[in-house]
Amino acid sequence: MLRFTLNRLTQSIVVILVVFSITFFMIRLAPGDPFASPKAMPPDVRKVLVERYGLDKPLAVQYFTTMGSYLKGDLLPSMSYQGMWNSKIIKDAFPISLIIGLSALGVALGLGLPAGIIAAVRKNTWLDYGPMSLALIGICLPTFVMGPILIAIFGLKWRLFNVAGWFEKTDWVLPAVTMGLIYAAYIARMTRGGMLEVLNQDYIRTARAKGVPGWRVVLVHALRGGLLPVVAFLGPALAGIATGSFIIEKIFNLPGLGQHFVASVFNRDYSLILATVVLYAVLLVVVNFLTDLLVAWINPKVRLS
């Protein structure tokens, strides 16, 4: 297990380094620049800005100074929001994305797991067809349709929630549900698939033959194996969920990280793009690493191979 862990750890560091380098150079290749403004900038002013952010230096020098700052934990200032530190932008935005993401995950698991289990156990009955058809609709319906529908009903018609913003204790509900429903649909279908496979195996039949109660067979014996596809899916999904969805944050006007991801690219804010991408890469790597450990723990076969 130790070797397995060390192995993965080295891989992770390499991945982050590669992501850092590729991002750094690719954003410089894109046309446009961080200081573009509708009113033309006098060349003198541009020169001041370019020098201020070190963009006049050779690319290699910029690359190594940037890396040096990152190693010291300094994410540099933003180039489009001048006077603002990237670390502060991320510090403010990340918790909001995280809250929305985790509650969406709660919604997804809370709805998806039971639906998937019941559908598998009651295969080919209406308890299977009903939820699975809904799940298919959920997968097909994009968030930018689902969000406004929920807003129209719960926000504008019944006035239960705010339609956008991050002001009140209940403002997480609509975004989390919008995001959660889509994931719930995936999870339901995956749970059903995983459970069906496991329920047909010999050890389940043995358990039943020994007289273990039906619910125990399903929830204890079968679920552990049946959840494997879901766990494998959730790992990478978690990083995406936690760093925020641009569409959700735009529809609900949430000050989360997802907006910065996209806006920084539109603004060609070189330093903020790098900061958000590296953060995402780190999260993805960490979560993948944990997922691998978890899967290895659940399924001894993985450890042995």
């Binding site: 001048q82 709660g106 991050w166 209940t170 997480w172 006007n253």
Partner: protein
């Protein structure tokens, strides 16, 4: 406890932790009206809170609440000013030296005394390259402004002098009869020396003096809270010289850039004023809710820039043919639908100024010009592209124009969409054929729409140059007689339109949704809110949207 309820509780607790102290601030328009807190969408996140670095309308609208210049735009009229930090002012005979007498009880928002020296120091700061202020060129109007910027003279030689604590004398490069209107622009406003110097380098962009707990201004309001990407809130400034006449207790600026989202917020009763209205919803609001929608001309000109260095487009006859083949009324009636005015020239209607009316929809003329240029019925005309940014209105306009030119002139045109920053860069590098663009007035004077086309001017971006035109602009700058000056500007606009490096399209309007509680929303050409004059009434009067707006 059932798991679902537990989950809800957990998330709520988390969310509360994530909400950074919103306290008792109102978030709906009714409460806001009661507490006199104005809730407005300001479209975009400010990129700077340092007054002298600001360069966008977004920032300008916030700065109008935090700072004040020598004079302010008149609350009722576009072509007048009213006292700001100066209670009265006078000019010498040729209007090149202006003397301002400051308000007796002028103070900064932290209570520090406000003197004429603050203006002088601010202008010197603005005119330093290290600051990187985009609007520094506005101050070239001061005597020795440009030389100071270039480092050729000493600071003391700048044409800005404090005669005593309450008297400021500005010496300009030449006669400027409309100077008070220019002085309304943010570049002429003061910044607090005592605060900037206290927290860091004068020109350092990372100087934290604009943080929410440090920022000091001299406007009717002061900064209360700034939550990046959420909102910026200002509260009453008790030290403002005219605090007794300020009606609101605060303003909250949101930065929602999606007009569908802001419209939903408005209908949910969370806003007093939107920034715009979704294009597709404008006709319905104009027809069914005339009391809610506020539609007014806003002193903006929308046009196509033509790259005059490209083959075929370098021929003035071609450019004029393209301009004559634009059915402006049809674009307004079918695409924009917000009562814009067709533009026959570059400068929007301004009192006292004679507009140039060069272009109308004139197909025979267009066809004749195109044939003369060697492309009868569009034969052999090189294919070119219309460059637009990713903006819904510009896409629809470009498609309409594409169809017009194809049907009317037999010319094949493509449309290229680019991210905003790329679109701007392409224009600066003259890397386009024809490009959709617009210009908002910086100050209320036709020069703001004409100066930009000067040879090699930063905002020319067409490759066009005309010596006579440049000469007229120079003459206008030296002209002490206001009416004569406007006549010169009309002549200059005439040359611009005759050479046609721009194809005028329409003069813009603003279409905002305004809550019935709002009093004194200014429908002014410059569209700058007069924060010290605006008011909210409670309970809000009845309106055609009561079913939505007057519920909680």
């Amino acid at each position: 406890m059932p798991p679902l309820r537990l989950l809800f509780l957990l998330c709520s607790v988390l969310a509360t932790a994530g909400l950074t102290g919103c306290g008792a601030d109102p978030i709906n328009a009714r409460e806001g009206a009661r507490e006199k807190i104005f809730l407005i969408n300001n479209k975009a996140e400010p990129r700077f809170l340092d007054l002298q670095r600001c360069n966008s309308v977004t920032e300008h609208h916030i700065m109008l609440s935090l700072y004040q210049g020598l004079v302010s735009e008149d609350r009722n009229s576009d072509k007048d000013v009213e006292p700001g930090m100066a209670e009265k002012w006078e000019a010498n005979a040729d209007k090149s030296v202006w003397t301002f007498h400051l308000q007796k009880n002028a103070k900064w928002s932290d209570g520090a005394p406000f003197t004429a020296q603050d203006f002088v120091w601010s202008y010197r700061r603005m005119l330093r390259k290290e600051l990187g202020a985009q609007y520094a060129e506005m101050l070239y109007l001061l005597k020795n402004g440009l030389p100071l910027y270039e480092g050729k003279v000493k600071e003391e030689e700048l044409g800005a002098r404090a005669i005593d604590d309450a008297t400021l004398e500005l010496t300009l490069v030449g006669p400027t009869p409309h100077f008070p209107l220019i002085a309304c622009h943010t570049s002429w406003w003061p910044v607090p020396r005592h605060v900037i110097e206290k927290y860091g380098g004068i020109y350092d962009v990372m100087n934290p003096w604009t943080d929410e707990d440090k920022l000091v201004g001299n406007g009717p309001f002061k900064l209360k809270r700034y939550l990046f990407r959420q909102y910026l809130q200002v509260e009453r400034n008790p030290h403002y010289w005219d605090a007794a006449n300020v009606k609101l207790d605060g303003v909250r600026f949101y930065s929602i850039d999606d007009d569908a989202v802001e419209e939903r917020l408005f209908r949910r009763g969370q806003l007093h004023a939107t920034y715009s209205t979704p294009l597709s919803r404008i006709p319905d609001y104009l027809k069914n809710h005339p009391d809610i929608v506020s539609n007014y001309t806003n002193c903006a000109s929308w046009y196509f820039r033509v790259n005059t260095t490209r083959p075929a487009l370098s021929d003035v006859r071609v450019r004029r043919a393209l301009a004559f083949a634009l059915d402006r009324k049809s674009i307004i009636d079918n695409v924009l639908r917000a009562r814009q005015q067709p533009a026959a020239g570059m400068v929007p209607p301004m009192e006292g100024y004679t507009q140039v009316k060069e272009f109308s929809f004139d197909l025979p003329q267009a066809k004749r010009l195109l044939a003369e240029a060697g492309f009868p019925a569009g034969n052999g005309f090189p294919k070119f592209n219309i460059l637009i940014s990713k903006n819904e209105a510009s896409r629809q306009i470009a498609e309409a124009v594409q169809a017009m030119w194809r049907q009317n002139l037999g010319i094949s045109v493509g449309v290229t969409q680019q991210d905003f920053s790329v679109y701007l860069t392409s224009q600066q590098k003259l890397d386009y054929d024809i490009c959709w663009a617009g210009w908002n007035a910086d100050y209320f004077d036709p020069a703001t729409f004409i100066d930009m086309w000067m040879t090699d001017g930063g905002n020319n971006e067409t490759g066009w140059s005309n010596k006579d035109f440049d000469q007229l602009l120079a003459d206008a700058k030296q002209c002490a007689d206001a009416q004569e000056r406007l006549g010169i500007l009309t002549k200059a606009e005439g040359i611009l339109m005759r050479d046609t490096p721009v194809l005028p399209l329409y003069f813009g309007t603003r279409t905002r949704l305004i809550h019935p509680a709002v009093k004194h929303w200014p429908q002014r050409l410059l569209d700058n809110p007069v924060w010290y004059h605006l008011d909210l009434v409670y309970p809000p009067p009845a309106s055609s949207m009561d079913a939505e707006l007057n519920r909680n």
